[in-house]
Symmetry: C2
Subunit: 200 residues, 2 copies
DNA sequence: GAACGCATTTGACGCAAATCAATCAGGCAA
DNA sequence: TTGCCTGATTGATTTGCGTCAAATGCGTTC
């Protein structure tokens, strides 16, 4: 009923359009969630980490795909099982509603970013959001780890790889961030970066 | 506790950032839901019609504003009242979870549109989505009514008024749609329009 | 029906980001 | 160490859409 599995790096464990008969809970690692157009264009709708629930869809097919960026461990239930659990533990339903509400708020914020922000604002917003997420981990936390590639960041922010790279270089030139390694960013001027993020 | 009110056209009845102490259910009319940046840029995250729930946020302030496009009638509860109702009627919680899940799917589709589709694909997608929504009403339903202004459409699709107008004119020139009136669109070639929408 | 105001359309031009094209840097196997 | 492969950066050029500006159409009031 509830199976624990691992998806190695790069493995797609949810396919957009497939019958949605399972519900997932990620226990470790990071996955990218995305939708694709027939010609290959891709929009990453979010990154899912530890504790994230996937597969809430009401419809009978998944609305997005999920792929492991780092090795991902997850717990998988059949939807029938989920329904039983929801009946047995009403508190779980409350929890899922909270989760969905929060994701909705995040999605609306992302729509603002995709529809109305400039490239620089998008990248700055992204770094600040990443910092918040990982705040629980390292103490200084001006240190932001990016487990995903430039291609992932571009597809998340509605930009191209080149623009993401150029924008990061630009922020570095303005002494707002440091880039010791492509996947490690240091926020040197938090206030300045916030000002570049569209001041929201 | 539960108050029925009316917001005349143009009236803002939810303000982004205000304390979120109420929960709304629209009983008639249409509202635009949007987020704004300090400099005035605006992203409409959706249009809410009859039956739509608003104010699900977990946080203590509204994540978006709501403004009446047409006169809007709504029912308003305090969040305390909502909590009581949720305790009394577990089915309501299920319903809200379904609603939130559906909105999440729609939000992801909109992210794909905003992040990766061209102007023409956005407008075509928008018209087709509008047609689906109003499908329940008129029978032929090739007739799409747009209660919102070009400015609203632009802010929903992440474009400018001018681009929306030019794109509609272009679709008309290609005999895919007819525009008897700015707020009335006729879909002349459904299949052709679908092909222009990014084939999704 | 004349005159005003607002939304929409149309036109000319500019620019931010995309595209096309090398080049560079780091990890890994031989 | 050398060479290769993959991902990131940097550079040159193009372009789709935004900006600025003017014209058109339509509903409303006088």
């Amino acid at each position: 009923m509830a199976v624990t599995s691992t998806a190695e790096q790069g493995r797609t464990f949810i396919d957009e359009g497939d019958p949605a008969d399972h519900f997932f809970n990620i226990t470790s690692g990071t996955a990218r969630l995305f939708k694709s157009l027939p010609d290959g264009r891709r929009q990453i709708t979010g990154f899912a980490g530890r504790g994230h629930f996937l597969g809430l869809a009401v419809s009978n097919s998944y609305a997005f795909s999920a792929e492991a960026i780092e090795p991902v461990q997850y717990c998988r239930f059949s939807r029938a099982k989920l329904r039983m659990m929801l009946d047995d533990f009403p508190a779980l339903e409350k929890r899922l509603l909270d989760v969905a509400s929060n994701e909705l708020v995040a999605a609306q914020e992302q729509m603002l970013l995709l529809g109305r922000k400039t490239a620089r604002e998008r990248v700055a917003s992204f770094l600040l959001a990443r910092r918040l997420e990982s705040a629980a981990c390292v103490s200084p936390a001006v240190h932001v780890h990016l487990p995903m590639t430039r291609s992932d960041i571009a597809d998340y922010l509605g930009l191209t790889i080149e623009t993401v790279s150029r924008t990061l270089t630009g922020l570095k030139a303005d002494k707002l961030i440091g880039i010791p390694h492509p996947s490690e960013i240091i926020i040197l001027n938090h206030q300045g970066l916030t000002a570049q993020a569209g001041g929201h």
